[in-house]
Symmetry: C2
Subunit: 488 residues, 2 copies
């Protein structure tokens, strides 16, 4: 058996026989530009001369990777759950120790090394329900909560439930925004489902337009069985924060069209724009028109990876899934049973977020200070980025109202578009690759998220350190102007 | 929208519209008997009178839940990676501190809160390759290693790659043992693949018989496209340890039939029988007949959840996947990218297992003592369980040669079988439910793993504490004899 050639019949798996959905699946946030950025980093480390001294990873919402410090309280609780001896020996605040003890009591054998129920540890599910109740002023119950291995896992779990198990025009259709976080398109490809893309309105702060939702759904009928609509709020990659009125109109649309609502609300702590506020879809759905919509099936997703905590590596997340039929809920719980359970320490991190120190607790002041510092800095960077992009010729950027990304539109000269197409690259991929090679700034081309035809964008996180961000944005401006000049 | 009835059209998801594969999927290890056991525990806690004072969970390989203590070294390294301050303040041994520092250097931003590459942290992949090399005396390379969220996640990743993306008799066929750990059947149902069940030979220590493999494969042709054979060694639920000769015969069969080998080797540290030894499929494949088979595509799976560590809650695991075509390997890596990464602390636990303290290290003696105590106790319980079952009329149990389970055969009287069938229960489900209700012992019916027609079994773990195990096995004997008497 040789290792040469791609379609030799000495291998079980060749490009002809490997799962075609895995071949088709794309996840741009970790795509070829990122691979090239990693290579460049290694070249620099090996002493290569480049026009920059450091690769700046602004491609992924990975807070700690770009210098954010962990919140002390979170890590102390996790450490105590890991080594219970530390509860007595590590000189941690009493509220840390009490919280760890309480969670460990909820673990089998009082060990973070045991499996939990597949839906998660009961006491943490209770804490989540209480958090949601306080946040929304609308009741929530622990039976509606499942813990997950990051929000991604929860999203896949609910999408799996919505599949029809059939092919062709009998496949499940799922409405997804364009641009969208590519987990959605990747999962729909993997599941052989039918994406129903609807465009966000760039000219209207990336809001949702019901006319466009109707157009998209109408166009999809006959191609699939529409089952659900996904909304990302605050938006990824767009940074929008939906108004309450906009949310209401989406809920009415979903009700009329009998779609389940999947609300990706992982950036609920990341609200920057003056006058903007986070409203959960569940809150709005429950309160509008005297409860007319309050029985709709809805799943909301939350993560330990974003907000002020940014604990991506712990893979903590949860979903609140309301109004399922009891039999369907049993199927949901069965469907997650073979995965055993989400990581216990990821669940612990979630608990620290939904049950943080409150006034009077020993950890409260430090916690509050660390949290507000992180959020204040992100807010400042959101403003800086928005302003900078809008100060440059050939770029237009909606305000980063929330989340962790800017998604500026770049107006590329026809010659640049032609040059890209000659290389069989999307024009914004072509642009982002040159940006990387010339400045060390790693971003993700808009084509990886989807965009209206003949419009080009890129996504850049607001996570790098302020001084690095300022330096690189200055370089960026030079790059952009010289790019325009080169292809004018 | 009401919440009554099962097929009302006010819900998007009803039993008619929910994913039929999720309805069909079964995972008996967390099935109805376990649900009833949890209820019984709550009834006892509420003061109900039962013939027993405690529910004994012997249904799942969850070491810490049943009283096993964590290995100190593992938890200290994890705690240091969580709170790097502890490296200097917690008075942990120097080797613990150095290992934590080294791993943190491999994390982005030196934080366990950042994402790793989807395949895992480089330094940990290197350590795994070194561990495999030392174990097998056969080279291993980090590029062939991917970290996973428990072994289950790795198994699903490789099975996904083997799917054809097609329906009917064009579906992928995967050979799985009967009895088998039901993750395999659950995943194949979820993926719409075709299981090709082959029987393990109960009369021959649950070994694999090539004649039976050929029969199973022949019977499957025309129904599907056979792609791979899964072997669990040491066996779950059977507790067998395959001989080198048996492994060689399976490899030859897979070679001739052009099947990829999926070797579930998560119990590689759990070898109890005198004269038994763990041989990895990769080692045997590489060494037999001068390397004739050494280029076969093979995946081997390992877990942090079993062995002597039993750290189930950390969801750590890895797969070594060898001899993939380079293009296919790129697809594999892309296919895991949207999951972002396995939990960092689960990866850290894996590192402590593949890179443990060695002689001369400060932690060595304590580590060695704790490890050998856990393994010695499990070995003792494996012997006790085997002996006890074989001393009871109407029960026959192969030696628990390895892993964490006994899978005794129970010879049920025809009247018991008839009584079960009248209730539409499998006879061993009927038996296990009565066992639970009368003794508090929670086991899993053999039907959840598959078995030859008209044979009945149950799976019981050897994990409960020795004294509890002994007490409950005495009760078990009484139950069994009175059951036989009732239905004779």
């Amino acid at each position: 058996m040789g290792d040469t050639g791609n379609n030799d019949d000495s291998h079980v798996l060749t490009m002809k026989t490997v799962n075609p959905r895995a071949v088709e699946m794309e996840y741009a946030v970790r795509g070829p530009i990122v691979t090239r950025a990693v290579e460049l980093g290694k070249e620099l480390a090996a002493g290569a001369q480049k026009p920059f001294s450091k690769v700046l990873q602004a491609n992924i919402g990975d807070c700690h990777a770009t210098g954010q410090s962990p919140i002390t309280f979170i890590r102390q609780v996790v450490a105590c759950c890991t080594c219970p001896d530390l509860i007595d020996t590590a000189n941690f605040p009493d509220d840390v120790r009490n919280k760890a003890k309480r969670i460990l009591k909820g673990c089998k054998g009082e060990s973070a090394g045991s499996y939990s129920a597949s839906a998660g540890i009961d006491v943490i599910r209770q804490d989540i329900a209480r958090y949601i109740h306080l946040r929304d002023d609308v009741p929530s119950k622990m039976e509606d909560i499942i813990l997950c291995t990051g929000a991604s896992d929860g999203i896949k779990t609910v999408l799996n439930l919505l599949m029809t198990g059939k092919d062709g025009n009998q496949r499940a259709g799922i409405m997804i925004p364009v641009p969208q976080y590519p987990l959605y398109s990747a999962t729909l490809t993997e599941f052989n489902a039918c994406p129903i893309p609807y465009y966000l309105d760039e000219d209207n702060k990336w809001g949702l337009d019901v006319g466009e939702l109707k157009r998209a759904l109408k166009e999809a009928k006959g191609r699939c069985i529409p089952r659900a609509i996904c909304i990302i709020n605050p938006g990824n990659p767009t940074g929008q924060v939906l108004s309450r009125e906009n949310i209401e109109s989406v809920i009415k649309f979903a009700y009329e069209e009998k779609l389940m609502i999947l609300a990706d609300e992982v950036y609920q702590h990341n609200i920057w724009a003056a006058g903007s506020q986070f409203f959960s879809f569940k809150k709005v759905m429950t309160e509008m028109e005297g409860g007319k919509y309050s029985k709709m099936e809805l799943a909301s997703f939350m993560s330990a990876s974003k907000g002020y905590m940014g604990e991506c590596g712990f893979r903590g997340g949860y979903a609140e899934i309301v109004n399922l039929q009891p039999d369907v809920k049993a199927i949901l719980l069965k469907s997650i049973s073979a995965k055993l359970c989400p990581p216990i320490l990821g669940q612990v991190v979630i608990d620290t977020i939904v049950n943080p120190p409150v006034e009077g607790d020993t950890s409260f002041e430090v916690f509050q200070k660390e949290k507000s510092q992180v959020l204040a800095l992100l807010k400042k960077k959101a403003q800086i980025v928005t302003e900078l992009f809008n100060s440059i010729e050939g770029i237009k950027c909606n305000e980063v109202m929330g989340a962790m990304y800017a998604f500026p539109r770049i107006f590329l000269p026809p010659k640049a578009v032609a040059a890209a197409k000659a290389l069989k690259q999307s024009p914004d991929f072509f642009y982002c690759l040159q940006l990387l090679e010339k400045t060390g700034l790693c971003t993700v081309p808009g084509s990886g998220f989807g965009e209206k035809p003949d419009t080009y964008h890129f996504r850049i996180t607001i996570l790098p350190k302020l001084e690095e961000m300022q330096a690189v944005l200055a370089t960026f401006k030079d790059f952009h102007l010289s790019f325009l000049n080169e292809y004018k």
